[in-house]
């Protein structure tokens, strides 16, 4: 039955890998958010460093390119005084035919302490976590469509920063939910933290009905989805989905599911607008909303560093 035990937790229920928000208890999520709050001040100091990961090696393993996410992990690790090694594997080992687990074995032999993994296949970080040395911690930095837990956590941090309590919120997640690891992580986090109404909003090609099993209300109408919302999380529409069988055109998508000032006016007056970035102006979100007073898109990025510092420092303190 080993394969069924939650691989993220040790026998004491402590976090040893961060692979998905799903299956993590509320107190672990809250602990991460509280720890992140303590780290926000580090970025304001003249010397932006704390020595918590001094002497530790953090390997950024990006099997799929993402300069932005990699950079935020790199900054977070450096602020914790870790040695950071960036490996753009999409361009190296994999193209030489080396298997994923061989790459991991080799890097483990270089005395890695933590792997930050981005991979195009759902579940790849689980495979790595199962086969790396016991002292190595794995952080999922995005796997296929499955999960992007640090993004989910920084979204929760952002919501908590502006809304204080989760217990009375209505949160709308809008866009390409079926292909979005961010949406899945957000939904699990919001559910665990006790948000009573989570809406998944978009056309049926991007918002399948079986999302209901994840505890969300499925809306195929933008007005209904945004009405009286406290938080609107917009998702990026990938270029390859803008035309074809999923959607006819970016234009029609914007008309039916784009976030404009008119639509946003249906939400609560103090609504916040979030987006994991990078944004497509005029595709999923109007510039006036993205740059407007309700937008917290840039603070999200800032909070992301503190949240990733929190995750890495907590993992480093727990043994398998």
């Amino acid at each position: 039955m080993l394969a069924r035990r939650n691989p993220q937790l040790n026998a004491h229920g402590e976090l040893i890998h961060l692979l998905s928000i799903e299956g993590l208890p509320k107190d672990i999520l809250t602990h991460i958010l509280d720890t992140a709050a303590n780290f926000t001040s580090v970025s304001d100091r003249e010397v932006k460093k704390v020595p918590l990961l001094r002497g530790k090696s953090v390997f950024n393993l990006f099997f799929e390119n993402s300069t932005r996410t990699r950079t935020t992990f790199e900054i977070a690790a450096k602020r914790l005084s870790a040695d950071v090694i960036n490996l753009d594997i999409a361009k190296s080992s994999a193209s030489k035919g080396e298997s994923l687990l061989d790459t991991i074995a080799n890097l483990s032999a270089m005395h890695a302490d933590m792997f930050v993994v981005r991979h195009s296949e759902s579940g790849a970080p689980y495979l790595i976590a199962r086969h790396c040395a016991p002292h190595v911690h794995v952080v999922n930095a995005g796997d296929g469509r499955h999960a992007h837990p640090t993004q989910g956590l920084l979204d929760m941090y952002t919501i908590r920063h502006y809304k204080k309590s989760f217990n009375e919120l209505t949160v709308a997640v809008v866009g390409d939910i079926v292909h979005s690891r961010v949406a899945r992580s957000d939904i699990h986090a919001l559910t665990t933290l006790g948000v009573p109404e989570i809406r998944a909003v978009g056309p049926k090609t991007l918002v399948p009905g079986d999302l209901r099993d994840m505890g969300v209300r499925v809306c195929h109408d933008m007005r209904e989805g945004v009405k009286d919302a406290d938080v609107v999380i917009m998702l990026r529409l990938q270029n390859e989905r803008m035309s074809g069988a999923m959607l006819p055109s970016a234009g029609e998508y914007f008309k039916s599911f784009g976030l404009t000032e008119d639509i946003l006016a249906l939400a609560k007056p103090d609504v916040i607008v979030m987006h994991p970035g990078p944004i497509n102006r005029g595709v999923e979100i109007d510039s006036r909303v993205a740059d407007g007073s309700h937008s917290v898109i840039l603070p999200q990025v800032t909070f992301g560093i503190a949240v990733r510092m929190a995750v890495m420092s907590i993992l480093a303190g727990n043994d398998a």
Binding site: H146, P208, M214
Partner: protein, 438 residues
């Protein structure tokens, strides 16, 4: 070689016989069940106290292809160790079985090993490319028992129609895995689990659209069709209706779909990556009920050895397939126990019923394979129904070590353990011999 199997419980599903009896075997045939002639002098006596003496198992789907050379030896040894005395292999070998010479060679090599009877399916189209039909008559003469596209699809419905027409000219059976080419690209069954895990899905419609199409073509051609590896409740229902209409169709289900669901994927366990993908609980329940009521004719291992490196990959990149020959008996018994069937009823789906599916393609062997009858071939499986075991990869004879039923994975408790396997009256495998050798 004369063999006496003593004091066993003889269970023959075809006749319903279930009684304590001795079985006498000589010159490859069963000479007596029960009253053994006083002058019968066996060269060897198998003590079968506490054991069931059953027909050897007939597995309608076992792949022998990979990995590496010597695969035939290891996989036929696995068959013998699993009590399987006849197996049907799909044509997706390397190269595909689309020429009589390849079939001759395969049958010749299998015969030399004398572990298990091998009945190949010929490729329905050349190179399994789905475009040009093969020389079905020559392939049948070489020993093919039917024609199949395995996991490959047909180019279009016209080609499928022509292939079915041509096959039906001589009454050859066409074995088809019902799947729509454009809907079957996912790595897990569509549904809540795939959505939650972010895995691409294969909708039930992939199976039902294909069955609808094939059934329509059966109505036109009256070709004999065997549906391979049903996976959904809706698929079962369509086959049930086709049978009720009197169409010449049969069907099988794999041990994986019979016992597991998509929930078993757990944390992206690549051992659960099989084709067709594991579906939901209601599908599994419908498959179990359909196997019990005969809508599904046979239970198959869908044995597909996959190398370790090809499984140690992220779920979506892992090669689909699981080892199964050595698990078939236990998983048939497990299903039978859980469904409150008699031993004879459970065993029928892996012995006499698959032989009925093969029908005339077996020739004279069809009279007695999958059965225990005096004068019939002595293909026998002796097993201990009380023994319980768990699957440990290193103990398997197959080169395929990955299975969803791995003790470390689902921890499935497996009822029943094979003690002796006889093919044509010769001991093909024996637990005792193996223990001595070790």
């Amino acid at each position: 070689m004369k063999i006496l199997i003593r004091n066993g419980r003889v269970v023959d599903p075809a006749s319903g016989r279930d009684e304590a009896a001795d079985v006498a075997i000589a010159a490859g045939r069963i000479v007596a069940i029960g009253k053994v002639p006083a002058d019968f002098a066996p060269d060897r006596t198998i003590e079968a106290d506490g054991c069931v003496v059953a027909p050897g198992l007939v597995d309608l789907a076992a792949r022998l292809k990979e990995p590496g050379p010597g695969a035939l030896e290891s996989e036929l040894a696995a068959a013998a160790a699993g009590g399987v005395t006849s197996l049907v292999c799909p044509p997706d070998m390397d190269p595909p079985l689309d020429e009589p010479g390849l079939v001759d060679m395969l049958k010749f090599r299998a015969r030399k090993l004398s572990r298990c009877r091998l009945f190949p399916l010929g490729a329905l189209t050349q190179g399994l490319a789905g475009a040009e039909i093969t020389e079905m008559m020559a392939l049948t003469d070489a020993g093919c028992v039917g024609f199949s596209q395995a996991e490959a699809t047909m180019r279009d419905n016209l080609t499928l129609l022509r292939a079915m027409q041509y096959a039906s000219t001589r009454g050859y059976a066409v074995w088809l895995r019902p799947k729509d080419p454009s809907l079957s690209g996912g790595v897990a069954a569509s549904g809540a689990v795939a959505t939650r895990l972010g895995l691409s899905g294969v909708p039930v419609a992939s199976e039902t659209i294909a069955i609808h199409t094939i059934v329509e073509l059966v109505r036109q051609t009256v070709a004999r069709v065997h549906f391979c590896r049903l996976s959904s409740a809706a698929g079962v229902e369509l086959v049930r209706r086709a049978k009720a209409e009197g169409l010449p169709v049969t069907a099988d289900v794999s041990i994986n779909s019979l016992h597991l669901t998509d929930v078993d994927i757990g944390y992206f366990n690549s051992d659960m990556r099989v084709t067709p993908p594991l579906r939901q609980g209601k599908d599994r329940d419908a498959l179990r009920a359909a196997l019990a009521d005969g809508t599904i004719d046979a239970l198959v291992s869908d044995h597909t050895p996959v190398g370790h490196d090809d499984k140690m990959l992220p779920f979506g990149e892992a090669t689909p397939g699981a080892t199964g020959l050595e698990l078939l008996l236990s998983l048939a018994l497990k299903w039978g126990n859980e469904s409150r069937l008699t031993l004879a009823q459970s065993l029928a789906r892996v012995t006499s019923d698959p032989v009925r599916v093969l029908g005339e393609a077996l020739g004279s062997l069809g009279q007695s394979a999958g059965r225990l009858v005096e004068g019939g071939v002595a293909d026998v499986c002796v097993f201990d129904p009380q023994a319980e075991w768990q699957v440990t990869p290193e103990a398997l004879h197959s080169r395929g070590k990955h299975t969803p039923f791995d003790a470390a994975s689902t921890g499935t408790r497996m009822p029943g353990r094979v003690r002796h396997t006889l093919v044509a009256g010769t001991l093909a495998w024996s637990a005792a011999t193996e223990a001595n050798a070790a």
